[in-house]
Subunit: 207 residues, 2 copies
């Protein structure tokens, strides 16, 4: 713990103020939480603060995108793409790296992924190029892929994106599937929105 | 953005995993928020992440305690203690640096502070020494102080601490005051707890 001797006179913002200010760049963190976090770290967990600082800096500098699936990784290929036990014939298309986490945690899917890092949204200037669709098309052309699982979000943009992707897959003779839509498991019908009910009703299955 | 070439084989946890793990040291941040924060920083705000890293590291290393009032500062004296326009004859005793922020924001108090960095709590091993009471006593003995404002929390430990401090002040012939207790401004009686109502009722004032 070191002290500088410039405590007098008109000062730039104090280090504590700067720390609180910069904690506000975290999503969901306002002035009050930022202040609480700063005091907590200074009073109880300086080691944690140092580790966090190191990891933040390294991550911001070193983490790029997997050259095969575009998810976040500090390596050339992410851990899934470089894992030889994964089935190379299935490819699941998701909008964000968080979706990869979610599917890995919830399912026993053993195929590969492709992360769009967004969804088609021409008004926001997000077209096929921004989503790396040429990288995906190259994979469809060069690799032996049997199934493309469309796991984009169930929003309007997600559906449009899925449609465009399915056209691309058809061109290369690859079968496409889409996540099933219906009532959430454990959900009560009363609280499920109308569109979902209508969709689930129309897609009812033999039981 | 740089890529290392060690993408294969059994790996230590990825940088992304380490980042998510270390974000969990922030109070109120669980696995889900930590993940959201990591993705947000990587996708939208790498500059913010770098600034935060720098400030965290500097704060953890450089911020110590003001030698006069014990609040957090990277200097020998904090900005309040080194401000010559503050009245040196009033001293307000608070439990934590956050309380200094709160009083500075809510009131027009122009005196000095003393930050206990805790409260008397013998069972937790927090006695007069941990709270720096000898530093405070030295100030009472050496400086010309007219009023000591006891702004410890209104909890059992806070009250005990205030009592001990008032004894110390009496020894040095310093007048003590305590924050008023009563119903919160804007509060409805129906939702105020019984102890507070009883206290406010007994301490009712001419109107």
């Amino acid at each position: 713990m070191s002290f500088s001797l410039s405590g007098n006179g008109s000062q730039p913002p104090s280090l504590l103020d700067s720390l609180i200010e910069s904690l506000k760049c975290l999503p969901g963190v306002g002035p009050k939480s930022a202040q609480r976090m700063a005091f907590h770290l200074l009073q109880r967990n300086r080691e944690g603060a140092k580790t966090l600082a190191t990891n933040l800096e390294r991550a911001a500098k070193e983490i790029g995108h997997c050259k095969s699936c575009r998810t976040f990784t500090e390596h050339e290929l992410c851990s899934i793409c470089s894992d030889n036990s994964r089935m190379k014939k299935q490819i699941c298309i998701v909008e964000s790296p968080a979706d990869v986490f979610t599917i890995e945690k919830s399912t026993d899917y053993k195929g590969l992924y492709f992360v769009l890092m967004g969804r088609l949204s021409p008004l926001d200037g997000i077209g096929p190029k921004e989503l790396g669709l040429e990288v995906l098309e190259k994979r469809l052309a060069e690799q032996e892929i049997e199934e493309m699982i469309l796991a984009t979000n169930s929003t309007v943009e997600g559906e449009v994106t899925a449609h465009v992707l399915s056209e691309m897959a058809r061109k290369h003779g690859v079968k496409t599937t889409r996540l099933a839509q219906g009532v959430p498991v454990g959900g009560e019908l009363e609280y499920v929105d109308q569109n979902t009910i209508a969709q689930a009703f129309n897609a009812r299955k033999h039981y």
